[in-house]
Symmetry: C2
Subunit: 396 residues, 2 copies
Amino acid sequence: MEGTGRGRTLDKVEPLIKDSDQSPMAAMKRIMQDQPDIVNMAIGEANFDPPAALVDIACRLLQDKVDRRSLYTPIRGLPQTRQAVARFLKRNFDADVDPEENILMTCGGTEALNLAITVLVRPGDKVLLPEPGWGPMMSLMERRGAVIEYYTLGLGDAWYVDPEAILAKMDPSVKILVVNSPSNPTGAMLTDRAAWKRIMEKAKEYDIFVFSDEVYHAYTYEGSYPSALKLDPSFENLLVINSFSKSFAVMGWRLGMVIAHPWLIRQMDVCKETVTACAPSIAQWAFAEYLDDGEEYLDRMRAMCQDNMDKMVARLNAMPGVKCPKAQGGFYLFPDFSAVEPSSAAMAERLLRNGVAVARGSAFGPHGEGCARLLFSAHWQNIAKALDRIEKAVTA
Amino acid sequence: MEGTGRGRTLDKVEPLIKDSDQSPMAAMKRIMQDQPDIVNMAIGEANFDPPAALVDIACRLLQDKVDRRSLYTPIRGLPQTRQAVARFLKRNFDADVDPEENILMTCGGTEALNLAITVLVRPGDKVLLPEPGWGPMMSLMERRGAVIEYYTLGLGDAWYVDPEAILAKMDPSVKILVVNSPSNPTGAMLTDRAAWKRIMEKAKEYDIFVFSDEVYHAYTYEGSYPSALKLDPSFENLLVINSFSKSFAVMGWRLGMVIAHPWLIRQMDVCKETVTACAPSIAQWAFAEYLDDGEEYLDRMRAMCQDNMDKMVARLNAMPGVKCPKAQGGFYLFPDFSAVEPSSAAMAERLLRNGVAVARGSAFGPHGEGCARLLFSAHWQNIAKALDRIEKAVTA
């Protein structure tokens, strides 16, 4: 224990995070600090402007001295915001959700997921997760002591959520099933409503609880979105995670939500008081007023993202040794660079040295090895610049 | 298990929160819903306007289309914000803190505390907490599986943090000591710098780690504030929790921080990615620009709060059966109503029926029974209205 520089007391503390000094993101950050001109495609954000009307409302509310908007809101969220969310879910998914009993506003989708895991997962519980899948989901489940089993996403001309792969792994020993459609990092979706229904039926049969992570619901490129909300209106086996931070390009505002059974909402409500207290107040007030007019913006941004994605797939597939499946939804492409460079860590470093930051595929599970996650929810001029650099890195 | 209305799958889940359906706050809320004219002294907030300059900066930054401020910030917080915090700590406490290595920005002081407990406390660890003390601190420690031992705050003409009570309980079996000065709910402070120093020395001797919760540091009414930051500049045995949400009356903005050893900051940084991702971006950008000019506002609000507190103590002590100690710091008085009504829950309900919401004293520990927590960080006209109603309730 000598030479850690932490002193005697901290040396006795077992590290919660084993490799916090050597995390790949930390390494990337160090390289990036010396290169101001990097195109950053590594961060999972909508890298374009939020709706101007939303920002105007937020500014007006900030200045309001009568109904002061900078105080705490109820832990569960402002009633007005939850009512606006319920109307949004009705318009978009024809879902009937009680704003008072079924909705909890959170500091982004991340806190929503964290609360759900805290309340529903116990050490030793068997959980089914998608692979490739979102790293923090795996870390959270690990830290909670869950026993993780993976189901593999399907791969054709696009990545897709394969219902047969899920159904094959569902049995009475499973406690939680996580479905992430559209998926981070692959853009895979579960598009087949009948298959979704079969999964929910089997969940009920075996007492499996389903987490449907729908934070990318507004960005889908193949038909209308089958939200799980329609499949279990009683919420006896379903919890849905959503986020307006992502949908409306205000990641920094931190506004997500859980939609779930009233009993679970009450559990998470009490728990949240000691995690972060309320979700940010200005974001809640602003969305309460703005959200009814939000669909036009989402349509416009979805079209832009789809256009970006189509052009990017064509460009990447034309590069020697690169295979790039389409995205059915979401913000990311997950091209395979293994013919160029088998190690996704080495490939990410090579791309970074050429001026493009990406997330290495192996961070998302073994099937991500050889791949990289590239963001397409950005302005085309940035993407085009990145593609030129990727081409240079690939052909070098 | 019949009749819970949760269905078979959720009936199998062991509740994390045992009494989430019957929480006292929930009961209070139901009573309050039917009474629009309640004066709310129950919520722990600075119930006055934030600095106008801070709000103006936030609005300008929200509208900025070049350097977009609604994207994610680094998990650890914006470098500019952490630099402004380090300058603030130098000016106010003459503390030398490295903005890059020692500071993590959080979603309020609550998340700061939650992260500290997640990273430092293990099931079975013995922790020393103040009593009366902040309820969520007790809940968080319980949920983490800590073995809680309390030290009792001293009571004279004011509540005070009694160093002898702390020192008497410090031995090698203790892992964590929590000091909350100024205290929620009592306003008690640890004013004796020499005693603070002895506590830190004993902490080093016995390998005890000290959490100093300083979120009310800007509101002190007896001399200059002895921050723990000066007592262990190596941070080998010290972690400090602070909050700008509280100090600058922007509770809803959710901006707090942890100041700690670089190794702990790295641990919490990685952990935070899966709890909430970054702290709210606009709050961070706005404070980075505003904070250097913040002291004039704090001086003004501190004077207002002290004036409120003095007048309120005089008024309450003149009521039959009410004993009200002064507050050395913070936002709260913790008067003893036991001669009027021995049960703090019954007293809170009686006050509520008379139009004043308060936090019942028993929520803060056994020594809080018979007491109520009253907020004085508000405009005097609201407090005066509440005092009239309290007088009516007491003399009825």
